[in-house]
Subunit: 1009 residues, 2 copies
């Protein structure tokens, strides 16, 4: 990964040859022996332009902020296509910056989004690549943040964040060596900042973290208390090693007003030619100097940072640099008098100078959610916007993890690369957030879909190959991955009377999970491994799940059975529809029994399994109570749907609800239960019991309890939301329980740490309760919890949503939004998703809900959380022949319940990337919140482990080489962060000990068996 000397020599020769050619002359042969061995990389802090003592040093940071999709698609942005929507072309930005850097070694530039940089890099010739490497080595071009995208923090799952960061950082380090390791995290645009994101950044080895957006009153408070820059305690479990220095930027991420030199700005250029008209140097210097002094008054040290750039700027970098060169020259010419010194800098050079100031810094703990840029402008709408994209992203992460695991096992034509990149882009803060234009949302979905197709081919090829190897049975090459099973389309199961279901479990423990398939026969036998027949159930396809396509999907029934799959392994099931005369002979062989259907009830309805029991009011059909049978706790609760009317602005504020902003017209939502019965049907069978509810013609729900599952599923189908009345609508589900939670509730941070939330309160600043609903909405990536001493009520989500607990015992989650006006944050389209026939978007999702004692709840919640985002993956093969169901695991033994196999990914044929995670927090669970040790030796059946090297979380540096800047903090005599210093995983056992919330990352060198 270091910069190869040979390439260097080769390219310098090329440079000279070009020079020679340019002058049409023959050069002395002696030149060709020219050596540049002394030109070692001098990137990093030592490459910073020097600051001056006794001055306010203004760090000018030339930068561009390049969304990997927003108003245009990522490739439209890259190429500069579709400029009528927005003028932006990243290819030109990078071309232009490289040219501008070549003009003066003092100039600096930072680049952030690796998805773009990688596109550009591969189009460059060797000469340019050489030049760029030189600039990187010199610290003239510095990569900051370096993820594939600049991910959102509210709608992203930590698994996807780690992956997308690693994807970008891997490209950088592979391309540029150690100078390609960013030192500073840079989330200048995301709309709110999570604690888990900061924690992950700390674990990735960043020295500092800067962002541009924070609550208007938080910012005001910080300015007044000089706390724009602090040390963030990002994780109680991890302690000091997870501390992260952060800075909130003074002016968002733009330049000082009047000093923007980009194409879209109309600020006066510096006119320093006295022979021409309009000479303005004195006026410009005075104005800038005043601004710098004003800013400096709010900060702790003699250093301030100014972001000289903005969205897609630097397409013509020369205009920027030419004027900045002059600004620096003329301001510095008066520095004796003004005390202001300007320099080209980078965020890392700025951090380095702050660090060198040797100050003692204050600290903070909580997150920056939700973001409000003004009293009525809370950016809590995007927690929910485009719920289908959010669901698709979560599901795609699941497929990607399966894909990457299996990619380690066999070389295939297909690769995870496309889905890795699509997922990395989808984490962008205008992607999974739902704040992009419709055609861009379509582009993200298309990329995910294309990536999934690749991964699906990979998955079935690897498993089929394994089956073939183990059993000799050849599966068909193109099995049915049942991509439209959500609308009861799966041609293989619909049309064949005999097929094989292959189910893969990416979790390192055995799981039992329902499989639901659209079928057309009256009954089926489902045979598992070892000839066992598995209990199955047949029931009618519901109205909301039947195919809406005319060309495909004729299934009238669903076949349901519980699949049990070994840890990181697969099981196959042979499904056969017996002929009519066979059925009579099936006495001893179980075949799927039709479920009992009750269309009309007298009195309350109860569904139950071994663990839970839910009762529904016989008259209204609404949920009435939930009982945990094992713990013997019960809770009266109701659940229904409501809608907020989207504000279109009012006398108080013109702000309306939109893709970004949530602003209800009033704080009380309107009920979607009209008082009559919502009960449609009760279905009870051997596998699952369910209550089917219809709230409105466009809103239905099925509440399910599968055998043996510790939580009930509330699967709602919402849409098209009617808009005939001209009103925007934001739909919530609300559980009203008698849990005595008061004003307190908990939401997860990116699916990992739990954050305590208290209504109308913020820890860092005096909160103004201007928007009682929207201002108390928090991101829900995976779960929301209320509790009291007796019981904990938990709702697990299948995608990122937003919600709150606005009153004692209540939990509400927004599930869909359809809004008719844009909210004026740039996207320029109302969030009014429509399908191909002009209908509003329909969305289906599931809340997995349980009631448990506080003691037991964490275990359920943590393991269920893992299972929900790492579900078993199945496909259907119709190959015929001697098909004997089989089950196989790729690991030698299940891992303990507190250890999550977060990443298994192939880096090179004999090098795997492995991440193991302790998925409990301290205090979660008596048993599982303890340190746990796992031996890697012989863990993976297909290969032995010859070497293990521990890496930073982002896998772009060896852990022991991570050397983060140390900060003095108030109330502590030691500096922070301490280094992560785990017990090394050494041969022969390669024992890995994990403490609560630990994630440990390894390069594992393997030899294949």
């Amino acid at each position: 990964m270091t910069f190869p000397g040979t390439l260097f020599s080769k390219s310098i020769h090329a440079e000279i040859l070009i020079l020679i050619m340019a002058y049409g002359n023959v050069f002395l042969a002696a030149i060709l022996s020219f050596s540049v061995g002394s030109s070692l990389a001098k990137c990093g802090y030592q490459s910073c332009n020097p600051t001056k003592p006794n001055r306010v040093n203004v760090h000018l940071v030339p930068h561009t902020h390049d969304d990997v999709g927003w108003l245009k698609t990522v490739d439209e942005y890259f190429y500069g296509a579709n400029n009528s929507i927005q003028h932006a072309g990243v290819q030109y930005i990078l071309d232009s910056v490289i040219s501008a850097l070549a003009k003066d070694p003092g100039r600096r530039f930072i680049y952030v989004e690796s998805a773009f940089f990688e596109r550009w890099w591969h189009q460059q010739d060797e000469k340019t690549q050489f030049q760029v490497k030189q600039f990187v080595n010199d610290g003239r071009l510095e990569f900051i943040n370096g993820g594939w995208s600049m991910n959102d923090e509210a709608c992203t799952h930590y698994n996807a964040i780690i992956d997308q960061m690693s994807e970008g950082l891997r490209f950088l380090v592979n391309t540029f060596g150690k100078c390609g390791i960013p030192r500073v995290a840079w989330h200048i645009d995301p709309f709110g900042h999570s604690r888990e994101q900061a924690s992950l950044f700390a674990q990735m080895g960043f020295d500092g973290f800067f962002f541009g957006r924070l609550g208007y009153n938080d910012k005001l408070h910080r300015l007044n208390t000089k706390t724009m820059e602090q040390v963030w305690h990002t994780n109680e479990n991890l302690g000091s090693p997870a501390d992260l220095f952060f800075g909130a930027l003074y002016n968002g991420y733009g330049p000082p007003p009047g000093f923007c030199y980009d194409r879209g700005c109309n600020d006066p250029p510096i006119q320093d030619d006295p022979t021409l008209f309009d000479y303005n140097v004195d006026e410009r210097v005075a104005k800038f100097t005043k601004y710098a002094k004003d800013q400096a008054a709010f900060f702790q040290t003699d250093n301030i940072i100014m972001t000289m750039g903005s969205d897609f700027q630097y397409e013509n970098a020369n205009a920027w640099y030419k004027n900045l060169d002059k600004l620096i020259k003329y301001v510095n010419a008066k520095e004796e008098e003004s005390g202001i010194h300007l320099l080209y800098s980078t965020p890392s050079c700025y951090v380095s100078n702050l660090n060198a100031a040797n100050k003692t810094w204050t600290t903070k703990k909580e997150d920056f959610m939700p973001y409000g840029d003004a009293p009525h402008n809370f950016w809590s709408g995007y927690f929910v916007s485009r719920p289908s994209i959010k669901g698709y992203v979560r599901e795609s992460n699941n497929i990607l993890q399966v894909c990457k695991q299996l990619e380690c096992l066999k070389t295939t034509k297909a690769s995870s690369e496309r889905l890795r990149e699509a997922m990395a882009i989808a984490q962008h803060h205008d992607a999974v957030t739902g704040t992009e234009k419709q055609h861009v949302a379509d582009d993200y979905a298309k990329r995910l879909s294309m990536g999934r197709v690749q991964c699906q081919a990979l998955i079935s090829e690897v498993i089929s190959s394994d089956i073939s190897q183990k059993t000799g049975f050849k599966m068909d090459a193109t099995p049915d991955h049942c991509n439209y099973v959500n609308i009861s389309i799966c041609p293989a199961s619909e049309t064949q009377n005999s097929f094989t279901v292959v189910v893969y479990n990416p979790i390192a423990r055995s799981v039992t999970s329902p499989i639901r398939l659209p079928v057309n026969q009256a009954t089926y036998t489902v045979m598992g491994p070892n000839g066992t027949t598995v209990s199955s159930q047949i029931q009618d396809v519901t109205a909301s799940t039947k195919s809406v396509r005319r060309d495909r999907g004729s299934a009238t029934k669903e076949l349901i059975f519980m699949a049990t799959i070994p840890p990181m392994g697969y099981t196959t099931y042979q499904v056969t529809a017996p002929s009519m005369n066979m059925i009579s002979r099936l006495g001893s062989i179980r075949h799927s029994r039709p479920a009992t259907t009750i269309n009309r009830v007298d009195g309350d309805v109860i569904i139950s399994n071994e663990i839970l029991s839910l009762s529904f009011d016989g008259i209204t059909g609404l949920l009435k109570s939930m009982t945990n049978l094992g713990s013997n706790i019960s809770n009266i609760m109701t659940q229904s749907f409501y809608w907020y009317e989207s504000s279109t602005g009012n006398n108080v504020s013109i702000q309306g609800s939109g893709a970004y902003i949530f602003r209800p017209n009033k704080s009380d939502p309107y009920p979607l239960f009209d008082g009559t019965s919502v009960l449609v049907k009760v279905v009870k069978g051997d596998v699952v019991q369910e209550v089917q509810q219809q709230f409105t013609p466009w809103l239905s729900q099925v509440v399910r309890l599968y055998k043996g599952q510790s939580a009930a599923e509330f699967t709602w189908t919402v849409g098209p939301i009617p808009i005939g009345d001209g009103l925007g609508k934001e739909i919530i589900t609300r559980f009203d329980t008698n849990v005595q939670s008061g004003q307190m509730f908990y939401t997860d941070s990116n699916g990992r740490q739990m954050m305590k939330r208290v209504l109308y309160q913020r820890e860092d600043y005096p909160y103004v309760n201007s928007e009682p609903v929207a201002g108390n909405y928090y991101p829900i990536n995976s779960r929301i919890i209320i509790n009291d001493t007796m019981s904990q009520f938990t709702v697990m989500t299948d995608r990122s949503q937003g919600g709150s607990s606005l009153s004692n015992g209540s939990v509400e989650i927004m599930i869909h939004r359809r809004i008719l006006k844009d909210d004026n944050r740039g996207v320029g389209e109302p969030l009014n998703e429509t399908g191909q026939f002009g209908d509003g978007l329909m969305v289906r999702g599931t809340h997995t809900v349980f009631l448990a004692t506080p003691k037991k709840a964490a275990y359920i919640q943590r393991t269920l959380g893992e299972e929900l985002y790492m579900k078993p993956y199945f496909y259907v093969s119709t190959a015929t022949g001697n098909q004997s169901p089989v089950s196989s695991s790729f690991i030698s033994q299940a891992l303990p319940a507190n250890v999550h196999l977060l990443t298994l990914e192939q880096l090179k044929p004999n090098v795997l990337l492995l991440r193991l995670e302790h998925q409990f927090e301290i205090g979660d669970d008596k048993a599982f919140s303890k340190p746990v040790t796992v031996s890697l030796r012989d863990l993976f059946k297909p290969f032995g482990i010859s070497d293990v090297e521990e890496l930073s979380l982002s896998a772009n540096q060896v852990l022991k080489s991570v050397d983060r800047l140390q900060w003095k903090i108030e109330g502590s005599s030691t500096t922070t962060p301490q280094a992560f210093k785990p017990i090394p995983a050494t041969a022969p056992d390669f024992n890995v000990t994990l403490n609560p919330m630990d994630i440990r990352t390894f390069n594992v060198t393997v030899s294949r068996h």
Copy 2:
């Protein structure tokens, strides 16, 4: 002027040193002896990229069109200031193009406007200058046209055109040597093309001329007849040497639709990375190929030209070149199949290829005036727009010529440079045209004013020095140049009872010209050289000429006398107000006599002098007849003012009248004579007789006949044009005579050749009479003539105007316009000039009118034309002492009446630029339309002539080295143009023979006496 080898060596060393520094290494000393002697300039036709046989060769010409002022001032454009009005920054364009050219030796760029290039050049470091010189030498950067600006052709005087072209071309040749000599003229944007302009271009040595705008029906006709490219016979007098190959561009000066790659364009970039989305190479190639084939069908050869650029484009040249590189690559990859071959080219390379095609070309004679881009959209409004700027420009040219002449005589602190440059910019096609925004018009005026101040200082310093040398009398250092004499302000004459008037005559013949000064005493004596007392007249200041300033100008009277000044020399007059008791003693000495004033008349009024007599109707006060007393011809004629209502669009066309467009609401103008008497006053004195008329409160006129003058002056003062009725108004003066001119009239072409005009007819194409007035308006730079066999009626203007003869015997000239709507050609402001108090602009101008026999008229018209634009310049000195009036000439003898001293300008202390012009056309006058010979030997008193070298008209090449491309034309067996091969002006007499319409240009090496 050649490229100095020493600089070359020095700079290549600098390049290498930079390379060394960049790599931080020590280079072998041997490199420093590196020599580039073999790298000779290879600019010109031999540097063209090759075309391919059997292909349609598409010459892609990357270019930018940079107005030296339009919506922004020239310096705003240069710096990129005021971008909220229009994004445009020329400094960045040149920076960026140079960077882009450095990337590939095959790329080409042309640059046109030297005013901008010179600004940029002086800001560059030596390294960049070296690099640019290299590009120019290689033909990668080629200067095209090369004037200081791209001058207008309708509102410009040939003297100013020649000066402005020479100003730019001189800079180029001085900077770049022979590679800085443009070969092609390029008027892509001016709104109509004059014959004289083309003739001047031919005389400047250009091989071809391209333009973008021509009449919509002319263009259609040319396309259909494949005559977009022809040879233009530009001057009947000069014949073949004045022939000029020209091309009308296919698509204006923009790129093909869909293939613009500049910041303001939203065309799709070429997306050729198959790994990304939206790959579009095939679609782009197909679309371009079709366009190229479509275009090629309208042209004669296998070459077509495409202008790849537009207004202020190439600020980020990389975006253009990157996509053009790809376009060339991918189209050429299919050239076998498509027959289309693309190459980077320049207009000169295109011309060279057309020439090599060895075709026989058709020819044309007439001009391209007026330009109509659609049936109701005639660009004949700008002939008149901003009459005050037009007048100021013409007057400034006069001062500049005086200034340059005198600059040859003595070195002063002041210089003509500022006024030369201001005048050169003012000739721009959005400057003198009046089509710029108001603040830009103000900027032009300011520059002219600043230049005039410099020149005025120079003028008085040189003359005062000469007076001092000759007489010993010291004039004051800061005399009064009476800049506001038009509103009767001249502090020196107003407040002093004794002062000296110094009058300089820039014409090479003696002239007698009125001097009018605001004064406050009842009478004055005016003493000329040799103690002669000059007849003078005192009369009241008129209402329209009295000072409108509160702080200055209290004069109630005007002193008028005729000054007689020797050829290219000066005369001083001592003016004294005698004390009251002196007056009685003045019996024998003449002092100014009060004029007779008649306020009320009975019967017709006649004013007359020795030559003319004008009668005015006693009742209406309007002109009634004009008589040439000498020729004894008389013509019944009337003169009055009218207004056209500016159209704001109608059912036929939405086009309204505006800065560019003239479109009257109906073809009959409304009279401004209300039927009552316009007669205010008749004043008769010893010097002048005049009739003062008042037509409306805002429109007055004085008709004057000075003693001895062969023409009457009609001096109108118009404005503020009332707009209270919400109607735009365009004011004309109209003479209705009984000259039997039919549909025929004559207007000058840039003040030189006369063009015959026939109503509703064009020689080149079938004319559609869609706009009977606007479509028959022609530019009048200096004169409009109607005649019949008996008499010629001539109106001479003092600035560029527009007019016509719309019926037999009628002549109309538009004098002022005030319009309330923009005409949608980009300027975005209505042509509603307002003063500092919000009033509409007042304009005063003079038509010099005479009636003569056709035989004698040309002499009057030609010499009067010269005298009107080269008026005597006067200033007033109040120095006291022994002041004896003096007269002195800088030439030894007057030149013949047909020889005009067009240019006398200092290039170096001992090298002068001299242009002599034969100012008659063949057939103008029996005596003066003959060849004439002048000896330069001893012509200029202050210096002897040691050497004379004849140059091209633009003075950037030695005439004998001009070697223009030869073309075969229909109907001729010889190729054209033949070279200008005058009889050389050789020692000792340096005889210069001039044929009609000749201009000969010389470098004259002098030794000062």
